[in-house]
Symmetry: D3
Amino acid sequence: MKIFAGSASHKLAKAICEYLKIELGDSETINFSEGNIFVRIKENVRGRDIFIVQSICYPVNDNFMELLFWIDAFKRASADQVTVVVPFFSYAKGDKKDEPRVSIRARVCADAIEVTGADRVLTMDLHSPQIQGFFKIPVDHLYALPVICDRFKEEGMDNDLVVVSPDLGFGKQARKYAIQLSASVAIGTKERPRHDERAEILQVIGEVEGKNALIVDDFTISGRSLVEVAKVLERKGACDIQAAVTHGVLSAGAVERINDSPIRKLIITDTIEHSSGELGEKIEVLSVVPLFGEAILSIHERTSISRLFPPGL
Amino acid sequence: MKIFAGSASHKLAKAICEYLKIELGDSETINFSEGNIFVRIKENVRGRDIFIVQSICYPVNDNFMELLFWIDAFKRASADQVTVVVPFFSYAKGDKKDEPRVSIRARVCADAIEVTGADRVLTMDLHSPQIQGFFKIPVDHLYALPVICDRFKEEGMDNDLVVVSPDLGFGKQARKYAIQLSASVAIGTKERPRHDERAEILQVIGEVEGKNALIVDDFTISGRSLVEVAKVLERKGACDIQAAVTHGVLSAGAVERINDSPIRKLIITDTIEHSSGELGEKIEVLSVVPLFGEAILSIHERTSISRLFPPGL
Amino acid sequence: MKIFAGSASHKLAKAICEYLKIELGDSETINFSEGNIFVRIKENVRGRDIFIVQSICYPVNDNFMELLFWIDAFKRASADQVTVVVPFFSYAKGDKKDEPRVSIRARVCADAIEVTGADRVLTMDLHSPQIQGFFKIPVDHLYALPVICDRFKEEGMDNDLVVVSPDLGFGKQARKYAIQLSASVAIGTKERPRHDERAEILQVIGEVEGKNALIVDDFTISGRSLVEVAKVLERKGACDIQAAVTHGVLSAGAVERINDSPIRKLIITDTIEHSSGELGEKIEVLSVVPLFGEAILSIHERTSISRLFPPGL
Amino acid sequence: MKIFAGSASHKLAKAICEYLKIELGDSETINFSEGNIFVRIKENVRGRDIFIVQSICYPVNDNFMELLFWIDAFKRASADQVTVVVPFFSYAKGDKKDEPRVSIRARVCADAIEVTGADRVLTMDLHSPQIQGFFKIPVDHLYALPVICDRFKEEGMDNDLVVVSPDLGFGKQARKYAIQLSASVAIGTKERPRHDERAEILQVIGEVEGKNALIVDDFTISGRSLVEVAKVLERKGACDIQAAVTHGVLSAGAVERINDSPIRKLIITDTIEHSSGELGEKIEVLSVVPLFGEAILSIHERTSISRLFPPGL
Amino acid sequence: MKIFAGSASHKLAKAICEYLKIELGDSETINFSEGNIFVRIKENVRGRDIFIVQSICYPVNDNFMELLFWIDAFKRASADQVTVVVPFFSYAKGDKKDEPRVSIRARVCADAIEVTGADRVLTMDLHSPQIQGFFKIPVDHLYALPVICDRFKEEGMDNDLVVVSPDLGFGKQARKYAIQLSASVAIGTKERPRHDERAEILQVIGEVEGKNALIVDDFTISGRSLVEVAKVLERKGACDIQAAVTHGVLSAGAVERINDSPIRKLIITDTIEHSSGELGEKIEVLSVVPLFGEAILSIHERTSISRLFPPGL
Amino acid sequence: MKIFAGSASHKLAKAICEYLKIELGDSETINFSEGNIFVRIKENVRGRDIFIVQSICYPVNDNFMELLFWIDAFKRASADQVTVVVPFFSYAKGDKKDEPRVSIRARVCADAIEVTGADRVLTMDLHSPQIQGFFKIPVDHLYALPVICDRFKEEGMDNDLVVVSPDLGFGKQARKYAIQLSASVAIGTKERPRHDERAEILQVIGEVEGKNALIVDDFTISGRSLVEVAKVLERKGACDIQAAVTHGVLSAGAVERINDSPIRKLIITDTIEHSSGELGEKIEVLSVVPLFGEAILSIHERTSISRLFPPGL
């Protein structure tokens, strides 16, 4: 077994190796001035069980193409099994054709990964569970939920808790958080007060008054939808308002937006790397390194991954 | 262009042909006593643009295998393009791996359809929009929503309307009905009053008191979840309670269950064939024949299908 | 190595496990009221060498689709090798396009099995040997012939034996039985006495008078062709008339038909499960469990399977 | 539509073009001294419906590889449809794995043809009908039977006719000749007089005494099995003995062997080219050019090919 | 026929449309803040013959992924044929495994393009001609050579001309320029004066003294190798020194480097877009728009593309 | 691990087995009179790591088809990994489409090898390095260069050495020889003295006077281009003239041509078998058996192959 790092996830891959007490594989990525990427494996991998860790985060396309080149390089170097470890897969958002004449980008990516020769995917909190079905190769899917819920259970709480999904799409997933935290569910939905009117007003349906609220989502880019929901919650009488997302993309301005909002704390995980100091005081990073480490070990030693999670997840 | 009927959708295919003023293609299906199915095309199809209509409904596996044999027979008979018209695709429900060590059955079906040689799929209200991405071949996806909403607009209404999704999974889709009908949204969700307790209690979140309620879903098998939600709605003070689903599977006992429930009327469409009289008084069948007819014409004449639907659907 | 049972071959799989002194794998199949099948593997199979035993017998399409879902479930659960053990493959009969515009159903099934991810097929007495070529994956093909011939050799015989094929298609195979049993060959063929006449009369060519006759075939569904040949044999002066087929499909009425015929005994094997008592007195079941058990062992331990059979089979 | 000739079938392709009153496509094949073959298309074929005629006859491997290069050259030159016209396909004989650890050579060839890009195959009297199932692309399969039977009907006959298959494998096909010619069937089979003895003696089962005999087969290489059967027929009192095969491979010595045998006349067709004079007096060549011409026209004009043959063939 | 522009080649696509007197297809590309690209076709393309123009130039990976999404969007929108027009394909440089454990990046790109569903590629001056063989789909390959040579012939010349390849890899291609321009050939090669010494010294082999020199290459990124060769040529007594490359990548600093060099003029083409003024005085841009326009017309109208070029190119 | 010999490389395979101190696998190839090839593996290979050694040399097409049948036979016999060892691959020369409407024959061969089921290719000095990219399966590529250079270093030299490529295509490769031998480079190129004139005159560019010359190439068929260059070198004052090619195809007349030329010695390797005595005095055969032996060992034991070669090769 050898674990290699793509340029998007060097810190995470190194942390996983430390968790597993093995050396990170020796390799390098070169970015040429004309825009081409070049990858080179610097040790023998013939017959090895390879894990290449690379989040498909910003710069998304560079990181994706680099991943393809890694897969090809490992296969042509006669690696035995190549497991693509993608903690965050940005194009998972493009999982359907919700308007005419657009691409299903997550399937395009899945096909490119498969045709290049990957043998397995290990990922976390995909935007929709159906994306596993875009792949023919096995997908091992991890959940940040136990890590996040454990963090909240630690704190204890004075009031009832309501788990809030910012939109209808994440409602089903929010309920899983609610069950783990013995909470009720509320959901944001944009309604149009009158027909044919363009303006949509964010509503939150479900009881929130006098409750502590935990807004949950799979990722946040600008923080905007989290903040909008938080404001409605505040207006409707929710007490302490916190948020938790697995993937903290946090594009420019997101940290400030969170800081200026009614959200007291935002939990993210380390699936996407941020430089220290960049995240400010309200954002707390939980580590999914142990989960990925255990999953990689399970894959290599042929033990069950589902044992890492509570049943029914 | 020729349209053929699989044995599950003979009535629907015939109605589409009448709508398009063409003859139904000549073919036969034979069921042998050992359980094998045999299909035979009884006219020349060389170079033709073929549409084979077959819902994957009860008996699901027989109908699915028959569909594969049709595809193979048409391709080996040198048909030009074979469009698989699947008004209802029962295995669409199996669209994810929501527990360990199960199959993603919709992807299995998609792969079998593709490997056998289908060129395109025309279907309606798949259980989740991501299923389009299980196919590499183009999928033209129709919505029963305009047919259903038009029916409700005809009636007029005395009270405010709330569109109710029986569960969190259909919430996003329910909102589309709400927008078309200028209604608000409410959603059913099963909660566990206390942690670790197995009993789940159905809640409806969102305002329903004093409103007319329209419960919507993509399909109903036993009618059970529609009826459960209707009872909660009744308890919470909803006025007139109706329901509408695209695919009325209606297994044994479903019609009685609806009849004995607070649901005043259940709208279904003709994607699945029922013998007349079987459905009772509360169930009304709307026809999607014109939608399928226009879509088939669009495919054959290379015009846009999206023009058949309101934008944003 | 783990052996699992599909719902068509639970008894056979269990018997194979007992032969090999291992536990049957833990799994379940659920049939829903709408007609969908759902399969669930109930133990860890990551990296295991899996054998899933499922005859494609009545109900053929349910059993076939269930098999596909098993394959997908095992592959997505990261099984190493999935060997599909299909003692009887009903659609093998659909091995050619013997009239215009029909499907080659055995190839359709082979493609579906392969695209879903099976790594190997283990089967017995396919309707034609060419079907191995419908698969790209290796097919290990077993013969019931030694089991059947040994049974006949046990009995001894007073007269010369003639092995009779009920039709021209099985003639080549019948000769193999004849060689093993030091017998001559006769063959049934339907002739039209005069040109353009539709009525076909069954002839048996080859010497049968005063000989004991053994009618052989790969399978019998209704028993009709066996009985017809037996009547001709009786008329032409054959003495003791017996029959032997590998796969005893035996649809409704078949047992009675055999009972009322000149056939003294019909040998079948246990590739298809029948409830006890159902078969009557004339039908004797030989077990192919040891053959399948040894073959599975050979596959797992990388030893030769051809050693199980006499050369030239 | 354009028809091109591979180097094995130049005469046949030219004759088909004359039948269809079109020009043969301009192309050339070069054989280099190191053993490489090189093909060049010498006119624009972009968007054309291409037929490349090439029997896979001696030298089999050269002709097969040349065919692959033609397919690739046409596809890369942007031909629309490439139909591979293979009047004789020598490797069709390798259609099963009748002993351990051998190749199914016909499937290997089918895969190579498909992966190179052929869109369709047009062929005649394959060694077994199952070979169609080795291809995913449509196979249009022609029969020389009507041409051969018409020739025999012309002659008239004094005695009853028996159609004789030289072995059990061709029995089913021989029956089709018998039905067309209102004849009975007899079949050659090699038996071992006593068990464990190696010597096999050719028997003919079925009535032949006092009848005219027509031995039929799909091809003959050395003529040996035809001659052996003819000798048995002569010994058993058959009158006039003739033979007919579709593909006259006729390796060195075959013509002499026929000449010195009880066979009065051997009918072959022109699927394989022979230089004039080479065949001697007993061998008569019937032309299948009109059949191939009509079939090519049907494929191009999208009309039925099955209309060229009597029903039930 | 419809031509669409990817975001890398909007000017070129528009110019081709003007040349062909048709409208550019309506579409848009959106770059999201998290790094995802999204493409949308804004008119009906069902059954159309589509050409999507997108150079794979800087930013290479963004442009490549966008191209994949275009292909998928067109295929899922039921376009008939999708021709990928790639004037410059940056990853063509990665066409071999010239050191251990690296990727063949051009093949990775070719596979991704094919699996996504492209039907054909139209490109110009690939880094090596073998790259056509990385694709199974037809590749129509254009040459800038006639455009460039015509420009030089226009000028006339006082002295003998020598065409100079900056390295051994482009030697064969340089000879084609020499033949068209009735010139001799010289070639740059880096030699090591003494064994084991790391310093390599650029040599030019072939006669250059007193001749006009034209340095040719397929692309230049930094201009460095052109300038180095020019300096050696100057030192060896070459007269007027010019250069010509098909693809002027011209990364930061390249224009200055050319300006400060002995190269009097550098010819590039418009396969890569540059903002006006950016290129300075020494660089002249020739247009390949007519070549691409004629090639697209040929593809659509099924006429020969090779007619656009001198024989033997 | 088992090594088998195809009929083209029996001596080489046996020598490799002796080098590795293992037994050659038991198998046979039969050539039938009709031109079909038949292969049979005569020992159990289930689960084994198989190496089949077969040069694709004269008779090229027979040897290629035989190789395909070997691959299929091994895969269907359930071999684990099948490595195709192709010391010389004649169709590698067909690696591009250098004129309109021809085939890229090396890609056709690569696809046929892959679709038949090979897992890996081991080869030597392919005509161009890009051919590795025609395969998706890993290609391990060996170089005869160290063997050849070691032979020359042994001899010592009185004069400076120039390595000469007979044409521009091999220039880049010739430079690698030059670097290993501390030599300079010269290159043959055919020029046309005046435009439009057909006669081409061979020039050698680069310094050769007073130097020893070593002409290098990947293969020679007729010896003609080696001899032509040698004559020019002689005329230009080169001293001792030798030549070295990896693959000595040596068609009829080649040995005489070398004997009558200024070439003092021609080095070839044993990738192609020649009968002893056939080669004459000037031709010396170096063995690549140790290289292939070590490479096969590396593949089997999962060690690095690149360690066998100097860096930068």
